[in-house]
Symmetry: C2
Subunit: 405 residues, 2 copies
Amino acid sequence: MARPLKSREALEAIFRPKSVAVIGASSSPEKWGFKIFKNIIDAGFQGPLYPINPRGGEILGFRCYPSVKEVEGAIDLGVIVIPAKLAPEAIRDLGEKGIKAAIDITGRFSEVGPEGEALQRRLVEEAERYGVSVIGPNCQGVNNPYHGFCASWPLLKERGHIAILSQSGTVGAALMDWAAQERLGVSAFVSMGNRADVDEADLIAYLNTDEHTKAIALYLEGVKDAPKFLEAVKGLKKPLIVLKPGRTEAGRRAAESHTKSLAGKDEVYRGVFKQFHIHRAETLEELYDFAKALAYLNRPKGKKILIVTSSGGSGVIATDQAAEEGLDVAPLPQTLAEQLRSFLPSHFIVGNPLDLTGDATAELYRQVAEAAAPHYDTIVLLFGDPIEGASEVVSKDRGDLVIFL
Amino acid sequence: MARPLKSREALEAIFRPKSVAVIGASSSPEKWGFKIFKNIIDAGFQGPLYPINPRGGEILGFRCYPSVKEVEGAIDLGVIVIPAKLAPEAIRDLGEKGIKAAIDITGRFSEVGPEGEALQRRLVEEAERYGVSVIGPNCQGVNNPYHGFCASWPLLKERGHIAILSQSGTVGAALMDWAAQERLGVSAFVSMGNRADVDEADLIAYLNTDEHTKAIALYLEGVKDAPKFLEAVKGLKKPLIVLKPGRTEAGRRAAESHTKSLAGKDEVYRGVFKQFHIHRAETLEELYDFAKALAYLNRPKGKKILIVTSSGGSGVIATDQAAEEGLDVAPLPQTLAEQLRSFLPSHFIVGNPLDLTGDATAELYRQVAEAAAPHYDTIVLLFGDPIEGASEVVSKDRGDLVIFL
C-alpha cells in the first residue's frame, strides 16, 4: 500500500506554526528541554509559546502548564523533549487537544533495538489515530529562519536559499555550521531522525513549493518509501543535491545498521538520480558546495570558460580541473585577444588561462571580465595575493566564479 | 649532456647561510627590497646581514653598502631584489666576491618573452662562469625556520617536518598559509620560479638528507631535466608528494605556456610516479593533507580500520569513504565485541562503525580505543558534537586518526 505524500497543509504547522507547546520544557540550563525552549525564544518566535511541565512554575518568564490540555488557546505544534517511554502518550494528548503536528527530538526508539521499536510503533499508532504529522523521533528538530522558528540547534537566524534535510543530526548540524560561518543562512533545516512518520519525500514535495528555497541539500542513508520518493522527485522543479553513502558494500551495511532500513543497491540509486536529474555529492563538502552554487549562481548557458588569474600556477591548476570536469577552456577569439592586447601591459601573455601576474589590479580584472563576457559562458576570477577592491569587480549577472586563494 | 645533481655543499649556503647580502635592499616599506630584508631580520637570522644599495644610508639600523665588493667580511649568499636587467651584473659581482649562492626574487625573465629569455641566459652564463648556485629568478624565495632564515614571504617561523617546493610562488604561499594557520610549520620552503639553475631535482636530493624533513610536498608543472629528476628520486628515502597539473590536454598546454618548457605527456609522469613510489595529489588540498599525514603519522601496518563515532551518520560516511579507498572496515572480532559489551551501555549497537551516540564521553572513546588497538591497524576517532577532553584520548603511537566535525 503506497502511502500518499503529506499535504502542504499538514506540514505547514511544522514549518510555520502560529503557536507552539514544548512538552518537557525545563528550567535546568543543561537539559535539552531548556535549550530547545530557549532557542525558540532566541530565534524570535512571535506566536504564543507554552512550556509544558507537570512541575509547573515558570521557564524564562513563561508560565508552565501541566499538560497541553490545560492550555486554553489553540496550539499548532507540539515539540516533544521527554523520555521515549512517555512520547506515545504525549502524541495522544496532542491529538486529543486537536494539535495536528509534532516534532519529537528524543531518542531511544527504533535505533536502540526491539524495546525502542515497540515504543516507536506505539507512537506511530497514536499519530495515525489522531492525524498528527510527526518529525522524528530521535532527531535534531526543525528550523525555519523566515518564520523566526528554531526548535533545533545550532541556533541559526540568517535567512538563505538552501534547505537542508538530514537523516543524521550531526551531519545536518555540520552543514548548518558552515552556513552560519559564511553568513549564508538557510531557507529551512530539518533533522529527520527515525522518520517514523514524515519522511524525505514529504519534505522535498513541501519545499518544492516554498518560495524561499532555491536548492535542497539532502543527506540520506536510504529512501524510506520508494514509490513516495519517486512521486516527490517526479514533480521537482528545484535542484536536489543528495549525499547518499552506500557506494561500497561496507558503507551500505553501515547505513542499514544505522537507519534500521534497507539502504538498497547503489545501482538503483544511481539510475533514479540520473533519471530525475538529482545531483549526487560524494562528500559533505560537495553537498554544501553544490547546493550553494545551485541556489545562488546563475546557470551558465554553455561550457566555455575563461580563467583570469594573478597567479600562473593557480591558473594552470584551474585549467586542468575545469577541463577534467568537461568544461571548455577555449582559446581567446581573435577579436577578444586584440581587444585585450590594446590595454594589457605588453609583457603579458594573452591566452586562456589569462595570467595578469603579480601586477594585477582590480581595475584590470574588471576590464578583462567586461571585454570577455560576450565570448564566454563563465568567467573565473582567481585572486592570488590579496588585491584591493577585488570583490567589487565580481558580477553575479555575468556569472563570474570567484576563488580567493 | 646530462647535468649532475648539485652537491649538498652547493645548496648548504642557500638553506643555512652564515652571512647574507640583500642586493636591492630598500628603506621604502612598500618595496620588496624592504619586505624581504625585514623578513630576514624578523625570522631571527643570526649572522651578519648586509643591505646593498648604491644610495647608501641605513636600513632598519643596518649600514648600507654600495656593492657586495665593498663588504669586508665573507658573504655566503646574495638575495637579489633588483630589476631583471641589472641581475646578470649582480651575479657577476657575487662571483667576483667569491659568493657561491644566490636567490633571485625578481621577475621579467623568461616568463615574459624573448627579451626576458635573453636576460635569463646572461644570468645563467654569469652563474656558470663563477660557479654560483641560483634559486629563481622570478620566485618567492627561500625559508628555513630551523636556521631562522626567511628570504621569502609570508614570514613563517614555526618549525615543522614538511618541506614545500613550488614552481608557483602563490601556490607555495597558499600551502604556507595553511601550515601557519594550523601551527604546523615547515622544515623548508623553496619557491623555485624559473629554475634557471637550481631545479626540483637538486632540492629533492638535498632535502632527502635534511634531518628535519619527513615529507616533501612538490608543486610541479613540468620536470626541468628528466635524467636529473630520475637520479634524484631513485635515491629517495622520504615520501615525495607531487601535485602535477596537465592531466588534461588543456592543463598541459597551460602548464607549458606558464613554464615555457615541455610539460610532457601525463602517461609518462604516471609511470615514473608509480615506479618510484611518488604519491600523486590531484588537488592542492590533497598535496597538503598527504604531506601532513606522511610527515606526522605512523604508517599503519595493514588495512584494517575501526571507525568510532559519536554521530551515526558521520560513521556511515567514513565507512563508505574508507572502503572506497581500499581499507578494510572489518567486523569486530568476537573477543573484542564481548569486551566492548562488558562496559558499553546496553542500548549501544556494537559493530564497526561503532556508534557511541550522543552519550559518548572522552573516557568511553579511550576505553574503546585501548581495547581495539591490538585488533586494528588504524582507529578513526570521529567527534561529532564537541566532547570535553576529546583531544586527550588521542594517541599518536596507536596510529589514531582524528576527525572533529
